[in-house]
Assembly symmetry: C2
Homo-oligomer: 249 residues x 2
């Protein structure tokens, strides 16, 4: 998949390369790296840090030989907290002072949900997962602050416990849901208008289940007016070489 993305393929990564861990990317100037690493420590459910690069080095122990500037399907470029570009190759936007953080992604435990016979709607529908900003603030760290972002999967009421149990075994990729059933309690006005990704159908007998999402650092980039950042585009993740089992407890 990394080779195809490097060659120009652009698509969401849910359901691709099942069995290996996927990761969110956020690369920030060195001067902001302490704030980001501490933001991850203080908010481990939305921001579980799987690896941190050395400054300016676009590589990771999670996938030796991969290039973080080219091997994701789609990138977002941010200046002063504003989205300024979306590109399939971030080489021109890369800087020598950037520290790259790879953050766990809930796509990782979808393999376990599917294996248990739980439909993952956005995979079945062939679209991106719906993601929403919430009314819950993360614990600030230095200059970084912002709200929790969640992903949503509709789960049949009689499988909610299974979905919790299965995802809870993967705390490094967001773990158990943060909320079950009531979008309004999270400040989400309408499920059919996600802030990121695509809407999916919630069928009768299903509950919307919300997991912490690795787009949360992008919300912090906006709220905190970070001077410069490169991130993945929501749902367009970095596919690592690490088997899911590494993060199973």
């Amino acid at each position: 998949m990394r080779k195809e993305f490097r060659a120009g393929l652009v698509c969401p990564t849910a359901g691709l390369a099942p069995g290996v861990t996927q990761a969110n990317l956020i690369a920030l100037p060195r001067d902001w790296a302490w704030d980001m690493l501490l933001y991850g420590q203080r908010n481990p459910q939305p921001c579980p840090v799987l690896d941190v690069s050395d400054p300016g080095v676009p590589s990771t122990v999670l996938a030796p030989g991969a290039d973080l500037r080219t091997d994701l399907p789609l990138y977002r470029i941010w200046r002063d907290g504003a989205l300024v570009d979306e590109v399939p190759d971030a080489t021109a936007a890369w800087r020598d002072d950037l520290v790259a953080f790879l953050i766990g992604c809930s796509f990782t435990f979808e393999t376990g949900l599917l294996a248990a016979g739980i439909d993952v709607r956005h995979v079945t529908a062939g679209c991106n997962v719906p993601m929403y900003r919430t009314n819950r603030n993360c614990r600030p760290a230095g200059r970084l602050h912002g709200e929790l972002v969640v992903s949503m999967r509709p789960i049949p009421a009689d499988r909610v416990a299974d979905a919790v149990r299965i995802s809870a075994r993967y705390p490094a990729v967001h773990g158990a849901p943060v909320h079950v059933g009531d979008p309004a309690a999270l400040g989400i006005p309408a499920l059919d208008r996600p802030d990121y990704g695509d809407p999916v159908e919630v069928r009768p007998g299903e509950l919307p289940v919300f997991w912490a999402c690795g787009v949360t650092p992008q919300a912090a980039v906006v709220a905190s007016a970070v001077p410069y950042a490169i991130t993945h585009a929501p749902g367009h993740m970095f596919v690592t070489d690490v088997p899911d089992s590494r993060y199973q407890v």
Copy 2:
């Protein structure tokens, strides 16, 4: 317990305040804080970071109202990688540029072992847990490097699986053992001469079981010649207000 330690009581903390989380302390100059936080991210089994203070602020969200300079039973003061003092009160040694890290401690899951009827030898014997430097190096982070330190508990062969299962549920306080049964494979020449703490008897039918230990950052202070640090004395932990269940998965 914190009040008694503040008043001058000095003793190891294993078995005290059962049901709440205990923590290792390492306070480093701000200039070294990035290295330490990254060392924790890269070595989460020995160095699971539970909280990080703001520079110069000797308090923690893990125990509102506590003073990290006085509320541990015994402290170690380090200069240029050498142990220079051991004191029951670190107020005079505190500096405004110190960032305090609280790191998970295996004493936390001993409550679960005891509840399952597994004898915790150092608690029964009323002594400190034995701890050993190993031949395994941690993954370096910036200027920090050093070997893994482990704690050891003798476990009856027919309860080893239970001890693994119970401790594995607490990854934030070192989780499952790193090794079962063979001290030589970890480079430990003699179980009766621990590098820290007290020796305990390993009885016939028992295996020595080794868990990653929060003294590992102190080994890094030595190996990396950190210019200044304040830590807890091994086995003399910070008792938090956080119930063990917070860290159970």
